[in-house]
């Protein structure tokens, strides 16, 4: 599945790389794989981003299932009024 | 500085209180007499949240001194329902969802009752202009106007 980092600080961890191909079953796995490659990125994603899985926006939570071929975007978290 | 002793009528009941010269009627009602239904939105006469009647006249209680209540009859929101039976305006405000946060509501109810006492059959425009001194930031006024018109209609019928 395609994983894209949009939040403006994620570049610090990845040296500017924004797109990844990852195989995983849950969002937890996605975060773990990314954090193995770029230590510290996992915590950034957990604390400071929301996630869009095939466009549906969720708060980041480990249990979200991710299906093969889906699109995952870590995006800045929105806070309303 | 010694306090003033004031004797007044609040919602039909004889009441006495002590107050400082500079205390407003709003402060007296809320802080001394514990009638907190009358709200403070500005303290400067601009929002109408503190509306009460003094001898039947609609006033901003933040612009009246406590000592001016001497010998007068004050009506506040706490005296609007008759026992357990709500005033038609109160009922219509609930039915029409004419309050969101509700903090403007006591003042608007008091002001609307004063309107209907003078003009039992107001037009929409008359209601809008009468209530122009009562700010509501939540509702956009639609449902307030509808509730007042509906209450007027019911009160004329009965």
């Amino acid at each position: 599945m395609r994983v894209v980092l949009i939040s403006s600080h994620s570049g610090h961890y990845t040296g500017g790389v924004k797109e990844f191909e990852i195989e995983a079953q849950t969002l937890h796995d996605v975060i773990r794989v990314l954090n193995q490659r770029y230590p510290g990125l996992g915590e950034h994603l957990e604390e400071e981003t929301s996630v869009a899985i095939d466009g549906e926006i969720h708060e980041v939570a480990y249990y979200h299932p991710v299906r093969p071929g889906c699109e995952i975007y870590f995006i800045p978290k929105i806070e309303g009024g | 500085m010694s306090k003033h002793h004031v004797t007044t009528t609040l919602n039909g009941n004889a009441v006495e209180f002590l107050c400082d010269t500079q205390q407003t009627l709003l402060e007296v009602l809320r802080d001394e007499l514990h009638h907190t239904g009358t709200k403070e939105g500005c303290g400067t006469g601009d929002c109408g949240a503190c509306s009460v009647t003094v001898d039947g006249r609609l006033v901003c209680s933040c612009l009246v001194l406590g000592v001016e209540a001497q010998g007068k009859s004050i009506q506040t929101i706490e005296g609007m329902a008759q026992g357990t039976s709500l005033h038609p305006l109160q009922r219509k405000f609930l039915e029409h969802a004419a309050l969101q946060c509700g903090v403007c509501t006591p003042g608007i109810l008091i002001a609307a009752r004063a309107l209907l006492a003078r003009n039992p059959d107001p037009s929409e425009e008359e209601v809008r202009f009468w209530l122009a001194g009562n700010l509501c930031r939540c509702t956009g006024y639609n449902k307030i106007i509808e509730a007042v018109l509906d209450a007027a209609h019911e009160m004329r019928g009965s």
Partner: protein, 762 residues
């Protein structure tokens, strides 16, 4: 069990979509409901706050000795009474709370950064003594040059609020400090190629004024804190859990040692998602050993809380002759106020979101200046960028000779349309709102002399997130629903409706309350249009757990297996092999046998709700412009908003009506006005004029319902997107009336008159 209790599409809903009287209604019409300022405790002191007379000054020294010596004064505090906080941004990017900033905003330390900035606070036995004590506090200020306007604050020689602030979000970081806290950029496609392919390009620049949320209830709270490190607060806020977390942090306390009671709230609109008076009252109470109450004056509210950002923006849109959008570029500069954190990121994300545009760049700047720290306001950020984008869209439609609604419809986003922030839209709803206005009789109604019609649209991310609810079945079979969501406009009624619908019982048999921070699980703020969605899901989940329990109890009574009982229309019913064996057993009957079957029946559910669907709105405004005075009268206003599904119809309509009217005020009247010394000149409702009843027609609402499949009843959220298109709708209507395009908010009579006389066609 699971899916069965939820009504699917096509099944009739009995209570959802009706408008019953709210459970908290009677106390609110009789004056008995207790708001933030309505609490008192024995021995209570009055708190008062000393505020800066300067827009920008260094604090050399504060001498409180005379104030402390005044009889009746029980405590005086300054920034020294609060522990220093670490400089770090924590939490989500948009809010990026920095407690180093927050503690300085509630009480100035090294410098005062805006007129009205708190510098000290006093608790005394009466209001009058507290006020007198403030006059005895001596502050030695060194006045500094100040800056108010966003463009001025971005100049290289502008006075700096923070001498070491380096802009974040620029790689490599700039070598010099500035007032620009942060730069944000989103891109899709190839901007240059997109504009090169355009047949027509329209570019315009805009300014908007900061506007205040204008809730009628000033901030107020009562605090009772022990010297042994525990405390209670009664506070009107949009989120008592957030008040608890922030207050505990600023006082260096454990979260569990602070109990926050949810007072009724007299309006918030985003402005009560942060704290001002709570930590001060708490610190005064802790220091004096007495309960302390603090009420802000209206002047304080204007000078030291809210507002939302003012802005300076440039938007460029490129289009093909056939109306297809090909490129868009926006630069959005937002005043954050005295500390970083404007809603500019939302603005950059939302501005172009309604449209399918292949090549987009959206740039934002978060800029500090010497005015109060901005706070969230209804769809924070989105109305500001929408004013620019929707004004340009109107001009583009005119340029290519297309109807402005059909132009929008042609380019409307739908499921699968890419967004500038990356993922594709996952929900429809925008096109439906355009069609609703196209079909509305107002769109074809004739206009008179000096009259004009404008349309505009808007997008907003409704939020989800963490919420908790409990559902308890009472001894008599009635039900109490408790949630952690402050009720700011009828949400108790919505919660009761969803619980009654799910349980299959009467609305009047359900009572909904708001529980304090010790009595229910964490619940995020009432904001972001999230309560009916996220807390609603928690309520329905708790009801489903209760239904499972009710079925198990009925099975025990009937001596069946739990799997042999289903819940239907408020009754347990034998099913499967046992079908028809017993008469259905209503909830009341099951409740009556609760002790025999295991004791009280109830459940709690806590969720982190995802899948919130965005809100779209399209609005139509008719105005009449007085050519003599430049004053603008709103003749008609129609708002069509996709709400997913309305749970309490009247309160949903009320959200639309209220949001639109706030937008009208923003468009025509509201603005912060400063003198050359950086003093706010209109810190009151007389001179900061919010719309009054006689300014307005009846707002006409159209509830578009494209259900959100991620909520059991289809809710998307209703509270915010209605304000987003409003200013552009008014501006477009004025342009239609006088052929002059106003690009500077508010569009007050002098500006309209000047535009009429400018001779420049819009």
């Amino acid at each position: 069990m699971d899916a069965k209790v939820i009504k699917q599409e096509g099944q009739t809903l009995k209570i959802v979509g009706t408008s019953p009287v709210r459970p908290d209604g009677t106390p609110k019409v009789t004056g008995l409901a207790r708001y933030g300022a309505d609490f008192a405790l024995p021995g209570m002191l009055w708190g008062a706050i000393l505020r800066s007379p300067h827009a920008h000054a260094r604090i050399r020294a504060i001498d409180t000795s005379k104030a402390r010596a005044l009889p009746g004064v029980k405590a005086v505090i300054t920034a020294e009474d609060f522990p220093e906080q670490k400089f770090e941004f924590v939490g989500p990017e948009r809010v990026a709370v920095n407690f180093w900033h927050m503690t300085r905003n509630v009480m100035a330390r090294e410098k005062v950064l805006y007129e009205g900035h708190a510098v000290a606070a006093v608790a005394a036995t009466s209001k009058a003594i507290a006020e007198e004590a403030l006059r005895l506090i001596e502050v030695d200020y060194e006045p500094l040059p100040h800056v108010i306007d966003v463009d001025a604050a971005m100049q290289p020689d502008a006075p700096l609020l923070f001498e070491d602030m380096i802009t974040r979000g620029i790689d490599p970081p700039p070598g010099k400090p500035s007032n620009i806290a942060k730069r944000i950029e989103f891109n899709i496609g190839d901007l240059d190629a997109g504009f090169a392919a355009a047949d027509e390009i329209v570019e315009m620049s805009f300014k908007t004024a900061p506007v205040h949320q204008g809730y009628i209830e000033p901030h107020a709270c009562l605090a009772r804190f022990d010297s042994n490190g525990q405390g209670e607060l009664w506070s009107a806020s949009q989120g008592h859990f957030v008040v608890r977390a922030f207050t505990a942090r600023l006082l260096n306390m454990n979260i569990g040692d602070v109990l926050v009671h949810p007072a009724e709230i007299g309006g918030g609109f985003g402005g009560k998602t942060v704290i001002y008076v709570e930590p001060l009252a708490a610190a005064l109470s802790r220091k004096s050993g007495h309960p302390v109450k603090i009420m802000m004056s209206r002047e304080d509210v204007f000078k030291a809380t809210g507002p939302t950002s003012g802005s300076s923006m440039t938007v460029r849109i490129g289009v093909k002759k056939d109306g297809t959008l090909v490129a868009a570029d926006g630069v959005f500069k937002f005043q954050a106020g005295a500390f970083p954190g404007s809603p500019v990121m939302n603005a950059t994300m939302c501005g172009f979101a309604p449209y399918d545009i292949p090549n987009v760049r959206s740039v934002g700047y978060d800029v500090v200046s010497n005015r109060p720290k901005s706070a969230a306001y209804r769809a924070p950020g989105s109305p500001i960028s929408a004013f620019a984008v929707e004004s340009v869209m109107d001009a583009v439609a005119a340029r290519i000779g297309m109807d402005p609604l059909k132009f929008r419809l042609l380019n409307a986003c739908k499921t699968g349309t890419p967004t500038v922030w990356g993922p594709k839209h996952a929900h429809d709803g925008y096109a439906e709102t355009i069609k609703a206005v196209l079909a509305h009789p107002a769109y074809a109604a004739p206009l008179g002399k000096n009259q004009g019609r404008g349309v505009a649209s808007g997008f907003w991310f409704n939020n989800g997130g963490e919420s908790s609810a409990t559902v308890h079945v009472n001894e008599d079979g009635t039900v109490v629903v408790a949630t952690g969501s402050m009720d700011i406009g009828g949400s108790r009624a919505s919660m009761a409706i969803m619980a009654a619908e799910t349980l299959g019982i009467e609305y009047d048999d359900v009572r909904a309350i708001v529980a304090d921070t010790a009595s229910i699980g964490y619940t995020h703020v009432t904001g972001g249009s999230r309560v009916t969605f996220a807390t609603g899901i928690a309520v329905v989940e708790a009801c489903k757990k209760v239904i499972v329990e009710l079925c198990a109890r009925a099975a025990m009574i009937w001596k069946l297996e739990p799997g042999e009982v289903v819940w239907e229309n408020g009754c347990a019913k034998p099913a499967g092999a046992a079908a028809g064996k017993f008469e259905p057993m209503p909830l009341k009957a099951v409740a009556a046998k609760r002790a025999l079957t295991g004791g009280p029946i109830g459940a709690e559910a806590s969720v982190n709700a995802g899948g919130a669907a965005p809100g779209f709105a399209t609005e139509l405004c008719d105005v009449e412009v007085d050519p003599e005075t430049g004053s603008v009268k709103i003749l008609r206003f129609v708002v069509a908003q996709d709400v997913g599904r309305a749970i309490h119809r009247s309160y949903v309509e009320g959200q639309l009506e209220g949001g639109v009217v706030q937008g009208i005020g923003w468009a025509l009247n509201e603005a912060y006005i400063y003198d050359d010394a950086g003093h706010l000149l209109n810190a009151g409702f007389l001179d900061y004029r919010i719309p009054v009843a006689s300014d307005l027609p009846m707002i006409e609402t159209v509830l578009v319902e494209v259900p959100n499949p991620n909520h059991p009843y289809g809710v998307k959220g209703a509270g915010e997107v209605n304000i987003v298109p409003a200013m552009a709708a008014v501006a477009n209507a004025i342009n239609n009336a006088i052929s002059r395009r106003l690009t500077d908010l508010p569009m007050s009579p002098p500006k309209v008159l000047a535009a009429i006389h400018s001779g420049r066609k819009g």
